[in-house]
Symmetry: C2
Subunit: 330 residues, 2 copies
Amino acid sequence: MPTDLNDLPSSADVFSAAQRISDFIHCTPLINSRQINDLSCASVWFKCEHLQKVGAFKARGACNALSQLPAETAMVATHSSGNHGAALAWAAAERGLACTVVMPETAPLAKRAAVAGYGAEIVICGPTLADREQALQRVVEQTAAHVVPPFDDSRIIAGQGTVALEIVKQCRAQGFTPDIIIAPVGGGGLLAGIGLAVAALAPEIIVIGAEPAGADDAQRSLRGGVHITTQTPDTIADGLRTTLGQRNFAVIRSTVRDVVTVSEQGIIRAMQLLWTRTKQLVEPSAAVALAAVLEHDARFRNKNVVAVLTGGNMDLNRVSELFGEAEEAQ
Amino acid sequence: MPTDLNDLPSSADVFSAAQRISDFIHCTPLINSRQINDLSCASVWFKCEHLQKVGAFKARGACNALSQLPAETAMVATHSSGNHGAALAWAAAERGLACTVVMPETAPLAKRAAVAGYGAEIVICGPTLADREQALQRVVEQTAAHVVPPFDDSRIIAGQGTVALEIVKQCRAQGFTPDIIIAPVGGGGLLAGIGLAVAALAPEIIVIGAEPAGADDAQRSLRGGVHITTQTPDTIADGLRTTLGQRNFAVIRSTVRDVVTVSEQGIIRAMQLLWTRTKQLVEPSAAVALAAVLEHDARFRNKNVVAVLTGGNMDLNRVSELFGEAEEAQ
């Protein structure tokens, strides 16, 4: 995919996206847990995007992208480890468009089932970004489908950023402005979108990204100032096994304070806390922001923090594998 | 425990309980799922008592009971498979009272951990109701603790019934009155309380109990008109492995339309639907009401149904055991 960095999204695009998609998506709840607050010595609010349409924030970007398609478009396609694919399949079905989703063989079965459930065609490929892009290229050559990339796309970034507009509004309705908004970063659509929204709406809020130490390209890119595009991600957070997009890097550099990394054990612990304390079924990627608050506690102590719970789609028969050891160790 | 049937709770007791406990408990949300509505051909609302204090409706009854203790009480005790024990431990800790909970060896570890986490002492016993009552009797002889029974108690029944006052209020705020309220029945505290509340507040609502076929004493008692007190419950719904209390039977006879039974497979399927569609982590017992709606669909078709999600406390390392087969079969 060619990248034209003149085509960067702006804060205004986030506000436009919010108007465009408001009839299609949920304004998801903001919840908290006294026990998690006590444990983290912070006031942590969770933005429940696992309760969004298709069970992930990705519905926002897909909906925004499909509301701006060229008029003659009959078919869309993308590559995705799962939630963007489901979101595009859902948004396409709502508009009567055909949809093909290239998915890595490592994608959770639940995510494949969701994509198929919305009526999209699935093409399975290898696990790397290169594998995905090659497979998608073949689909485009065969079908002339309009590609909606999972994150390196201005319409997607603007759409995902709408979550921050809701966060700020909901917090202000409760009488405070958050000190920090922290969100997981994979390709960087969500984080860049939040950065843009906050820069315009409440620049006093610090925006921080969180990623698994085994997929730390965003941190290395941001801290080193050079966009790192090669890595072999190794993490249970399947939604974050992607490298930062070019537009995403450009936006994040100018709007996001830092990216912190978390351990795999920290992700599992955070997910376990979310499941047992809030009773919310979030997927591993969604637990990464809380993992960061707990592993980098000095940074968040006594702050009002909003952590985005990005999605809730996972294979339930993998749960014991994730939680078995943690419970036995109690 | 002696049972004085002159000591039956009234509808007025439910209203009094609501006033007594309102500062301590949550008014839990009422949610729904388009996919579950489509699947059941009904409009099914879920009352989220898994989001209640201690993760279960039991907080209501325990809180109501402890707000009416004899003045000299320094210690309370009970027997419980889990959630009532945690609720009593929580309510006792709030009031600075000592608490002992007799728990069957089959109680989930997560529920034991919760009871211990609120600072109560745990006494482990065998799995039957007789085992529990004997162990509790020994505790009382040794400590002179005030016993707060898990369900066969007017204060408990009235406390649990407050959930129905919220349901009716929340539904009316959304512009409708439910046709049916359906709740799981084990000892019958919740079902009897709902029966009392509805009889006074909205007698046009039909109240139905749901229980596992492997613990069907409430159905047999209600349909046969004779209180059955002996059975060996066999079900994954650990919260429902009790037999109906005497006060509970007396109240349910006069306020509840029917009790329906569900299969173990139906409970697992309903739990899986709730986890994957609503992203709410509910325990097996909590899925029994939805299982009934799905297995007895003719009875609920095109109705406005409220199903009580009773709790969300379970051992996460048992999840694959429950869901493994269901997922493989898809």
